[in-house]
Symmetry: C2
């Protein structure tokens, strides 16, 4: 998977930020100059643990992870899936204490950046600060879409929507094609993302296969007709904000 290691371990972060906002050369250099250490994690290990103080921002350099919340009755809710370029705890690195956990789905490489360094960078370079802020706003937009999905779509649309979103994000991260990819998670994980039981996820996947929306083989998903699955999913990718950069005036 890591045939060609990126020239710089913070490249995925730079790639992400420039997606949100054009950066000047000094700004790019400042991003790459962030102090950091690199660590690896095994599947199932916690990258961020609920209740523990967050001293570092965690950039996901490779691998997949997910954000979970445990409900009192023991059930689990997954509120996001993370992949290369995601800063997994921008959401709470400012807050100081996490009220949820982030767990590795696959072997992960993470970049650990002291949270003061991130905040200092954000305000030393407003343009970068805007891009970071923007990133958290896009995540919030995804949260809202998930709320709508779980609240008002049926199981077919929910699963199909998740598959569409994952594919589009994979492609945007340069990790493959939205029409054909490998899911890093089990059907139980899928269910915890969309508020269904693993049993019903299984039946819904088979149903989507029967209706010709997807083809499956183990955890590989193939989509022959993007327009078709978009329709059953009610998927419109605008909420991911991948198309256009923020138009907020520059400060430089």
């Amino acid at each position: 998977m890591d045939d060609q290691t990126p020239p710089h371990s913070l490249d995925p972060l730079l790639h992400r930020l420039t997606k949100w906002r054009a950066l000047t050369e000094p700004e790019r250099a400042a991003v790459l100059a962030l102090p950091h250490s690199v660590a690896t994690t095994e599947p199932r290990k916690y990258i961020i643990r609920q209740e523990s103080p967050s001293t570092h921002s965690c950039l996901l350099i490779s691998g997949f992870a997910f954000r979970e919340k445990i409900i009192v009755n023991g059930s689990r809710s997954i509120s996001s899936i993370h992949m290369r370029g995601d800063v997994v705890n921008l959401q709470n690195s400012l807050v100081g204490v996490a009220n949820h956990s982030v767990q590795a789905l696959s072997p992960c490489t993470v970049g650990l950046i002291p949270r003061e360094a991130v905040a200092e960078l954000a305000f030393a370079f407003p343009n970068i600060g805007m891009a970071l802020w923007y990133d958290t706003l896009v995540q919030a937009s995804m949260f809202r879409e998930w709320i709508a999905s779980i609240a008002r779509r049926n199981s077919r649309a929910r699963i199909a929507h998740l598959l569409c979103e994952f594919g589009v994000r994979l492609e945007a991260a340069g990790l493959g094609s939205k029409l054909n990819y490998q899911l890093p998670m089990s059907q139980e994980h899928l269910g915890d993302c969309v508020g269904l039981t693993p049993v019903h996820v299984n039946r819904t996947l088979k149903d989507l296969e029967a209706s010709g929306d997807i083809t499956r083989s183990k955890r590989e998903v193939a989509i022959a007709d993007w327009a078709k699955i978009s329709r059953t999913a009610d998927f419109k990718e605008d909420y991911l904000h991948l198309a256009s950069r923020t138009t907020t005036p520059a400060f430089v």
Copy 2:
């Protein structure tokens, strides 16, 4: 309701920001010096309309509003309720175009601040910028809690949780007591918040009343035993982050 108009129309914003972060006197002055105009809205009117460009940040000075997303099949999802002190579109004023609407629940007074002014303030005063950013992160935390609630709690817990959250936020905004308040929304609105039909909201409310969790009279809600309803709601208010300010080091 407006017996004593606040000395300054941006006071609710200042109040909110100082909840997240201690501000110096010049910083407080800078917040209040923001250019703005004040407008009023009738119930059912749109404060922010989906697809329209956002040129201003909207501070809710008085009244209640909600954020909605319309799903293709015609159903509606409400992703947040807003009250005094909320900047209703910090979430998308940076993005430039809204992918959802914000609608007034009651007569509202809003402060309209040019979005460039907000961004400039945020970077001229990092401390204020941090507070603004923090505010959007708290909103994201609420989104995640709603995802968990809709996905994994039954109707009793969902409704009870919403009632708890609303009460606590009311109290934090200085608008009343969490043990006794007036709901500004219909049962249909409640249902669109938690992913239920109005019919079932009605039955659930009666059920909560029968079990002694709440007392009702029209849209007034009274809670005799906070511990009891917290238990049935699985409500822990930490996700609202009202208790403690961010511990991120100051920059001033």
